[in-house]
């Protein structure tokens, strides 16, 4: 019995290669482009942050160095008024004055005085 043999002249060439041309640029150029975009972004970010955190950004400066002093004086006056009122009340109720803290410093009271009758 005759065996299967290759055809005369051999088999035809099997096409396994794809001859499609590579699309776009070389990968190196994409890399360069990405870094340029990132550099631009960091450049803008740098300037934005410098404006926001730098000495020129003066939202906090407005409050702290200029106006807060005035508000602080007002607040202190109110605290002192309450302090003297508390002392007078204590004198009236207990007849004596005693220090709560072992210190001469002004301490903001933890508990506030409220009238006994809250609603009318």
């Amino acid at each position: 019995m005759p065996q299967d043999m290759p055809p005369t002249g051999g088999y035809a060439q099997v096409q396994y290669k794809r001859n499609i041309p590579a699309r776009g640029f070389k990968p190196f150029y994409y890399m360069v482009g990405m870094h340029m975009i990132m550099a631009y972004g960091f450049y803008k970010y740098f300037h934005g942050v410098r404006e926001q955190r730098g000495p020129n950004y003066h939202k906090t400066l407005t409050n702290v160095s200029l106006c807060l002093v005035n508000l602080l004086a007002e607040e202190d006056r109110d605290q002192v008024r309450r302090y003297y009122a508390d002392k007078a009340r204590e004198k009236e109720l207990l007849g004596t004055e005693h220090k709560v803290y072992h210190s001469d410093r002004f301490v903001r009271p933890t508990f506030a005085y409220t009238p006994s009758k809250v609603t009318q």
């Binding site: 300037h47 934005g48 404006e51 926001q52 730098g54 000495p55 020129n56 950004y57 003066h58 939202k59 400066l61 407005t62 409050n63 160095s65 200029l66 106006c67 002093v69 005035n70 508000l71 602080l72 004086a73 007002e74 202190d76 006056r77 605290q79 002192v80 008024r81 309450r82 302090y83 003297y84 009122a85 007078a88 210190s103 001469d104 410093r105 002004f106 506030a112 005085y113 409220t114 009238p115 009758k117 809250v118 609603t119 009318q120």
Partner: protein, 159 residues
């Protein structure tokens, strides 16, 4: 329900005892935050000496500054009130415009450079007070004199 009048009782929870007589009275400034923010640099310009004096007194008060620096505090308040009064007499329209702009823009000064510019020129002409940002670098244009503001909603020049 909507017609019902609101009933507050916070006022009875506040200690309303007046200041004792041995402490001189002073009228508070009484301006709201937008007006204070708007006038802050002019208050700082005129009252710098009083403010520094007050802060120094509090710093050296060793924790009793609240009680011992009342005199300096009154000076600070009187000076701030005088600035507000002067601005009200001379530049009321610009002052109102700037404060309204601040109210509408979350108190961001960078959104209101146009109104601020007219207020600044008015105050400089009439009162001679100048806005300077303390601690700003010398070699740059100060941020309030730049027409373009980076963080403003409108990025172009505001005036």
């Amino acid at each position: 329900m909507a017609q019902r009048d609101p009933q507050f009782n916070q006022h009875v929870l506040v200690d309303t005892t007046p200041m004792p007589d041995h402490i001189p009275k002073v009228e508070e400034v009484g301006a709201t935050s937008a007006y204070l923010t708007s006038a802050a640099y002019f208050i700082g310009d005129r009252c710098k000496a009083f403010n520094d004096d007050f802060m120094k007194c509090k710093d050296e008060g060793k924790g009793r500054g609240e009680i011992e620096c009342l005199k300096e505090g009154r000076k600070v308040t009187r000076c701030a009130a005088s600035v507000i009064k002067d601005i009200n007499t001379h530049c009321l329209d610009q002052f109102k415009a700037h404060a309204d702009c601040l109210e509408n823009n979350n108190h961001y000064l960078f959104e209101c450079r146009k109104a601020e510019m007219s207020l600044n020129t008015c105050i400089f002409d009439k009162l001679g007070l100048k806005k300077t940002i303390p601690g700003a670098p010398e070699n740059q244009v100060p941020v309030h004199l730049r027409p373009k503001q980076k963080y403003a909603q409108y990025p172009g020049p505001q005036y």
